[in-house]
């Protein structure tokens, strides 16, 4: 039997063949290209259209960017160097770099001040942004606002020191009284800080020397990208606590407080930022006591802070509403009072949910700081439109300057939104 069978089969393989790689059309780049780019006729048309678009963009952009001139002192010299060839006059950036970044307020020897403040910003922000860093670094974060103020504005060192002392006194009083009730601690601390500032203000104005170590810089001369950074960082930081307070007020079951918050939030959200900036520019001064004179930059900070506080309040309200009812009930059943329940149970969770929204508001606000150029402040956009494009040296160098502005804003905003996505993944505690 077995013999016949053996004869009926012509050939029997005795060893297993090694695995073959798939044919080149079913694997590797060819298959990928076929699946992802040319799988059917509409896709092929789309792909070709996309390739043509990319070709158009690159063919316009690359010669301009690669053939750029970086070291001439005005547009005529730059055009002579180019001799009619396509190329960007990037020398406007090198020649006007300080003006674009710092404005006109600083002496050439003083640029280290805003640069140092900018570098220290990262050190101060790091422990807030990355939870894994040692908590001791938060001490520097607490000092940073006063240090940065001193570096950027200069003048007498007693002003930031006094401000800091006021906060310290306020905090000490708060931590003594908070065991009794939160309200007593908060208002006691506030009162102590205000008294310290008032008393200290008299002392400081008496002992301020005429010559100071860092020359005072008037805020009217601040400009460039630094102004955008100042407005963005200050207003977002100030608007967070105000936004939390507004959100809690809107959730409150006390009708008067609730309606005050609702009207404030809806009013601010209903008008464009530019009208609020007009208010800062021409109206706000009418509401201050006669004889006082506030800086324009301070008035703008007040209005932008109100603006972003309303938006942040709405984001946090969403976070509060998304929290399950059980969390509120659990806090109540533990016997916590309102302030304790909010501080220990509700807000930590609600703020975590709101992080993406808050970052969105922060990015939007940072972009909106360019609007101050409309009320003739010389931020990056104002600087480009005003002194630089109007000067005889650089009249007509549009694209290089706009490309610079676009790059700066893109890097900052894209970086922040990538950080927020990373943070969302870090904080995700649900199991999905």
């Amino acid at each position: 039997m077995s013999d016949t069978h053996a004869h009926s089969v012509a050939y029997v393989r005795e060893t297993q063949l090694p695995q073959q790689p798939p044919p080149s059309t079913a694997a590797g780049p060819v298959k990928w290209t076929k699946d992802n780019l040319f799988s059917n006729i509409p896709y092929t048309i789309l792909t070709l259209a996309a390739i043509y678009c990319i070709y158009l963009i690159l063919s316009g952009f690359l010669p301009w960017a690669l053939n750029g001139v970086w070291n001439t002192s005005n547009i005529r010299e730059c055009r002579e160097v180019l001799e009619g060839a396509t190329g960007g006059c990037f020398s406007v950036l090198t020649e006007r770099w300080n003006q674009l970044v710092f404005g006109t307020g600083y002496e050439r020897s003083q640029y280290w001040r805003p640069t140092l403040a900018f570098a220290l910003l990262f050190v101060a922000a790091a422990p807030v942004l990355f939870q894994k860093l040692p908590k001791g670094m938060l001490a520097f974060t607490a000092i940073y606002p006063f240090l940065a103020f001193y570096l950027i504005w200069g003048g007498t060192i007693y002003t930031p020191i006094l401000a800091m002392v006021g906060f310290v006194v306020g905090y000490v009083v708060y931590s003594r009284l908070v065991a009794g009730s939160f309200a007593a601690g908060f208002f006691g601390g506030l009162a102590a800080a205000v008294v310290t500032w008032w008393l200290g203000g008299i002392v400081v104005s008496a002992i301020t020397p005429d010559e100071t170590f860092l020359a005072a810089v008037p805020s009217r001369d601040m400009g460039g990208f630094m102004l955008n950074m100042i407005l963005g960082v200050v207003c977002v930081s100030l608007s967070l606590p105000i936004g939390i307070a507004l959100a809690l007020g809107r959730q409150s079951n006390m009708p008067i407080i609730k309606w005050i918050c609702v009207i404030f939030i809806e009013f601010i959200r209903g008008v464009p930022l530019i009208t609020l900036l007009f208010v800062a520019n021409v109206i706000l001064a009418f509401f201050f006591p006669p004889g006082t004179n506030f800086d324009l930059i301070l008035r703008v900070i007040i209005m932008i802070t109100m603006f972003s506080a309303a938006y942040i309040a709405e984001v946090i309200r969403g976070g509060l509403a998304a929290l399950p009812r059980g969390q509120y009930e659990a806090a109540d059943s533990l016997g916590l009072d309102y302030a304790q329940a909010m501080r220990l149970i509700i807000l930590p969770q609600a703020l975590k949910i709101s992080i993406p929204g808050i970052v969105n508001v922060a990015v939007g606000l940072f972009k909106d700081t360019t609007l101050v150029s409309v009320i003739s402040m010389f931020d990056l956009v104002g600087m480009i439109r005003g002194p630089i494009l109007a000067s005889t040296d650089w009249n007509g160098v549009y694209w290089e300057l706009w490309a610079f502005a676009i790059t700066l804003f893109f890097v900052v905003c894209y970086g922040i939104s990538q950080y927020s996505q990373w943070l969302e993944r870090q904080l995700a505690t649900d199991h999905r």
Binding site: T47, A50, G270, V282, V363, V381, W402
Partner: protein
């Protein structure tokens, strides 16, 4: 013998205002109200003493005085002798015009980019995400100014002159110059009303036919063709009326006369800059909303629809889109609101919207800052409250009816 007695009722002590949670709310609200009224009173007294010191008062008389300035782009009749109120009205119409145009194009752009970003075509998906990220992360003011600069660097009308002009009109119909874009405009002769009416009637006819076809499908299972009859209804009656009435509707093509183009419709440079920049910028946000909306429909829905035997386009139209729209529409409407508010940036390129007329030139000429800005805010507040009212009505109508 011990009995449990109720806590004494009605004996109200003053300390309960601070310590009893039933009454503490009233104390807090009273304090808040006093503080608010005090702050308001303080600000108002500052305001009036400042106004008095400068010899000013609050009055809206200036609205009736002649404005004395010209407006380049007007949709209603306006001369420099018209009142400030009429200038403001022109500004309102211009705001609404650019907001409407930008809403339409931003939606088209955003939906296209959002759908293409989910495409399986790798190159197109990447290109679209590059578009979204690039435009979302740069201030809209910069985009407005960039597009303004693009228009400024276009050829001047002079380039179209001469035997061998430097530039030629696009298809012989559209002229793009540094003053704006000139496009052909329709001219309506006598009898054109009939053509327009026939056209509107045929549109109505298409809708009625489609409803009839669906009714036939549901009631009797007859699947009537819809595409070709709709196409026929769209073109044939209107074309017939057009030729029967002796071709009353013509086209006015812009032509170079002297130093500038005449005829046709001019879309001014500021309008183009504002319109395109707002559309492209907001389109990037809408693309993200659309993508999120489509991704929010779970895959099981698509699979369930496919297992019922629906064809892919029916799956999209009948199952995925209705559910995705519920997620897409609310953020879409708030993007429309953002467009309206961002259109106030018109002042940066010199487009005469309400911010530029009432909040700009009128304010500077009359010095009535408080009144002008108050009216300006009132306008934007009205618009945004109207839009949120529409959104609430929509949300209530599409929200899931849970049992």
């Amino acid at each position: 013998m011990s009995t449990i007695t109720d806590p004494p009722q009605g004996s109200f002590r003053l300390s309960m205002l601070l310590n009893d949670t039933r009454y503490r709310g009233y104390t807090f609200q009273f304090i808040a109200l006093v503080l608010l009224i005090g702050a308001m009173g303080y600000l108002m007294s500052n305001l009036f003493s400042n106004l008095a010191a400068q010899g000013l008062n609050i009055s809206y008389q200036f609205l009736d005085e002649p404005a004395g300035y010209g407006i380049a782009q007007t949709m209603v009749e306006y001369t420099s002798q018209s009142s400030h109120l009429q200038a403001a009205w022109v500004g309102i119409l211009n705001t609404l015009l650019v907001a409407f145009l930008a809403c339409v194009t931003a939606t088209i752009l955003g939906v296209t980019a959002g759908v293409l970003r989910l495409s399986k075509n790798w190159l197109v998906a990447k290109l679209m995400s590059a578009y979204v990220e690039a435009f979302r992360n740069v201030p809209v003011l910069i985009w407005i100014l960039v597009i303004n600069t693009i228009v400024i660097t276009m050829p001047s009308p002079r380039a179209y002159r001469g035997e061998t002009p430097d530039t030629e009109m696009l298809f012989g119909l559209i002229a793009y110059t540094n003053r704006g874009v000139y496009i052909p405009a329709p001219t309506f002769g006598p009898g054109s009303m009939v053509v327009v009416l026939v056209f509107l009637a045929s549109i109505l006819g298409i809708f009625m036919y489609r409803r009839y076809a669906i009714k036939q499908l549901y009631d009797h299972g007859r699947d009537l063709p819809t595409f070709l009859p709709s196409l026929a209804l769209f073109f044939i009656p209107t074309l017939l009326a057009y030729f029967i009435m002796g071709r009353p509707i013509g086209v006015d093509v812009p032509a170079l006369q002297g130093f500038n183009f005449q005829g046709g419709t001019q879309i001014g440079r500021p309008l183009i800059a504002l319109w395109l920049a707002l559309s492209i910028y907001t389109g990037a946000f809408i693309a993200e909303n659309v993508r999120a909306g489509i991704q929010a429909v779970s895959k099981g829905q698509t699979e369930a629809a496919a297992s019922l035997g629906l064809r892919p386009n029916r799956v999209m139209n009948l199952v995925v889109l209705p559910q995705a729209l519920r997620v897409i529409i609310p953020p879409l409407i708030s993007q429309f609101l953002n467009i309206t508010k961002n259109s106030s940036l018109a002042i940066a390129v010199g487009y005469e919207d309400i911010t530029a007329t009432l909040g700009g030139i009128t304010l500077n000429q009359t010095g009535r800052a408080i009144e002008c800005i108050l009216l300006l805010m009132l306008f934007y507040l009205t618009i945004s409250l109207l839009i949120s009212a529409v959104m609430n009505v929509y949300n209530n109508s599409v929200s899931l009816k849970e049992r």
